[in-house]
Amino acid sequence: MSLELVVFAIASGLAIVSALAMVVVKTPVKSVISLVLTFFALAVLSILLSAPFIAALQVIVYAGAILVLFLFVVMLLNLTQEAEGHDERPIQKLLGLVTVVALGGLLLGVTLKAGAPPVPAAGGPIGNVTDEIPILGRLLFSDHLLAFEALSVLLLLAAVGALILSKRRFD
């Protein structure tokens, strides 16, 4: 068994277990912390898929910025315990479970059956870790330049929007 296989097994096991913990755990703070663990495991999987740049982004942006923002809001709203006491409509839980099982089985079946596309890979730069980031940079500033500029405007708008939303009084 190769080292890559062992790392894959550990990282994917950790990702799945901590994702389950995120759903099962009642306290929002613990939910967020277990999702951080999941994202770290996903970053490891990204490195295995020879995407070290995406792995770094995953850790810096997702685990570092977005989930810290979540944690900050959980603290701000003082959500110590999820209000689960009033379970007056168990039918919703049942329907939700049925949907999850049905859709989950369908998705798993379809993705695994689809598997690798029949046309083999054209052969490209990815897979050779050393010169991957220059390729991404060149792609970003040539083919995807318009999307990149639009994205910067979107981020600015989101920042301004968040500021306005949290400052305004709704009476």
Binding site: E4, L5, F8, S12, I16, A19, M22, V23, P28, S31, L35, T38, L45, L48, L49, S50, A51, I54, L57, V61, Y62, I66, L69, F70, V73, V74, L77, L79, E82, A83, K93, T99, V100, L103, G104, L107, L108, T111, L112, A116, P117, P120, A121, A122, G123, G124, P125, I126, G127, I135, L136, H144, A147, L151, L155, A158, G161, L165, S166, F170
Partner: protein, 112 residues
């Protein structure tokens, strides 16, 4: 995977299907959280998990095809997720300030 090795793509040690399975399982866990949780914040967290599961699938296919565009897609998804999280959390803060709750069962004025 062996056929891809001829085209200067390093063959994958871990089969593609293993990544697809992990990604799909994570997506389904996120779906379960989004459908079964009552707290709006937990639902939002579950949606983030679903997005990351799909990111993993895109990365796996990008690796298999040896195509950097897949990583570009994931880059854009992560950036948009950051914008979405900022606006979403601001909405939750505004909601909590006016309604004193973010429980989905109590926030039903848009239901009918």
């Amino acid at each position: 995977m062996e056929g891809a090795a001829m085209n200067a793509v390093v063959p994958m040690t871990v089969p593609l299907n293993a990544y697809l399975a992990v990604g799909t399982i994570l997506f389904v866990i996120g779906l379960a959280g989004a459908l079964l949780k009552r707290n709006t914040l937990s639902i939002f967290l579950s949606i983030e998990l679903m997005m990351n599961a799909v990111n993993l699938l895109v990365l796996a296919y990008a690796r298999m095809r040896g195509d950097a565009t897949g990583q570009m897609v994931v880059f854009f998804v992560i950036a948009i997720a950051a914008a979405e999280a900022a606006v979403g959390l601001a909405i939750f803060v505004a909601l909590f300030r006016t309604r004193r709750t973010i429980d989905v069962d109590r926030l039903s004025s848009l239901k009918w």
